[in-house]
């Protein structure tokens, strides 16, 4: 098959198969952070994704080299599209975003995390495709992410002078404001009249 776009969609089962196969293929410890739609698929909130996007980290160069060697084979074998892509490729992320990412489970030496949720939300707001916006609603509705944490992350990111590789801060602010309006209209965040800042409706999520 010549085109990634016509690879099969990755549903939860296919994602699971990929992670298991990866765990069996590498020997060195590796931290794999799922990003974007693959997080929603893993949470069972979305049926499938076109790409399994990830960020990988290892303590030594061996782990990443092994991943690089194994991925083409696994992609072909399992007919999935797996791409290295994280929020930091497009805009700044808060300090310690990876450290604050949620650990999910391990497959042999591969520890799987969900990339820092507030950063995922910010990158979705920055891109603002219709499906991104729907994903944000879903993550809030399901209590996966706390809106106050998103605002705190944005305050830190907004102050960053570097890392704006794809979007400018003012563009993101404009899109984020539109998103806040949409979330308020959906009753997913409320406006705190004292601070005029958006708070999660019905108190913070877990």
């Amino acid at each position: 098959m010549s085109c990634d776009a016509v690879r099969a969609l990755a549903d939860r089962e296919r994602l699971e198969r990929f992670l298991r196969a990866l765990g069996e293929s590498v020997r060195s410890p590796l931290r794999l952070y799922l990003v974007d739609a693959s997080v929603l698929v893993d949470l069972g909130l979305r049926q499938a994704t076109l790409d399994i996007d990830y960020v990988a980290q290892a303590d030594g160069p061996q782990g990443l080299a092994e991943l690089e060697r194994q991925l083409p084979r696994l992609k072909e074998q399992l007919n999935v599209n797996v791409e290295p892509a994280g929020p930091a490729d497009f805009m700044p992320v808060p300090r310690g975003a990876l450290d604050q990412s949620r650990y999910m489970r391990s497959y042999g030496p591969v520890a799987v995390y969900h990339y820092h949720y507030p950063s995922l939300i910010l990158s979705k707001a920055a891109r603002s495709a219709e499906r991104d916006l729907a994903d944000v609603e879903l993550l809030l509705r399901e209590g996966v992410v706390d809106w106050a944490a998103v605002e705190a992350a944005w305050a830190e990111v907004r102050a960053s002078e570097t890392g704006w590789l794809r979007h400018t801060p003012s563009e993101v602010e404009r899109r984020l404001e539109a998103l806040r309006g949409r979330l308020r209209a959906a009753g997913l965040i409320a406006v705190d009249p004292a601070t005029e800042s958006a708070e999660p409706a019905g108190g913070p999520a877990a």
Binding site: A5, V6, E130, R131, E171, R174
Partner: protein
């Protein structure tokens, strides 16, 4: 080296169509020289000539024209009805791609163009002819994905990459001053019907 007459004709057509697009506020391409000859101003004529243009950037500009002015959708359908063969097939695909991309990026487009997100949606068309999923599925993405896969099978190029990079270009450009603003002449024509 002197240009052949075919190249000269293509260059002249580029200038005229790029100028016509600029007058519709579609500004990602520009004429190389002041166009000689009539610049098409009626939308059906423009869309017809875009479909027949030899330069792929002019052909694809029909997508950006529709995304910028979705009200031109009936004119696009009229133009397609006057085409035949591969030109018609490709024009239908570009129409569908515009419909799908508009649904995938509706909020972002409306923010950039300063228009309400409830603005006219490009009406679905040709989906049954090409046996594509409905535009409501996954905000148009399912349609675009199926369209691109079918197009790659039929014509051999990576249509998905083509559409997504065209959309990247569009999203980067529409925030710029003047995008989507029709020229005074077109506004006058619209007023007088």
């Amino acid at each position: 080296m002197r240009a052949t007459s075919g190249e000269a004709q293509a260059g002249a057509e580029w200038d005229r169509l790029a100028e016509a697009l600029n007058r519709y506020g579609v500004c990602h391409i520009a004429p190389l020289t002041k166009p000689r000859g009539a610049v098409p101003s009626d939308p059906v004529g423009l869309l017809l000539r875009l479909a027949k243009a030899s330069d792929v950037r002019l052909q694809e500009a029909a997508i950006l024209l529709l995304l910028t002015h979705p009200k031109l959708a009936p004119a696009a359908q009229d133009a397609i009805s006057r085409l035949g063969g591969v030109q018609r097939d490709r024009a239908m695909r570009r129409y569908i791609a515009a419909s799908a991309l508009q649904r995938m990026w509706r909020t972002r487009i409306s923010l950039a163009l300063g228009r309400p997100a409830s603005e006219v949606l490009i009406p679905p068309a040709y989906l049954d002819i090409l046996r594509l999923p409905p535009l409501e599925e996954d905000y148009g993405r399912a349609t675009l994905r199926a369209l691109a896969a079918d197009e790659e099978a039929r014509y051999g190029y990576d249509a998905w990459a083509g559409y997504t990079s065209l959309m990247d270009l569009f999203l980067a450009e529409i925030g710029l001053q003047g995008w989507g603003q029709r020229s005074d002449e077109l506004r006058r024509r619209a007023r007088t019907g």
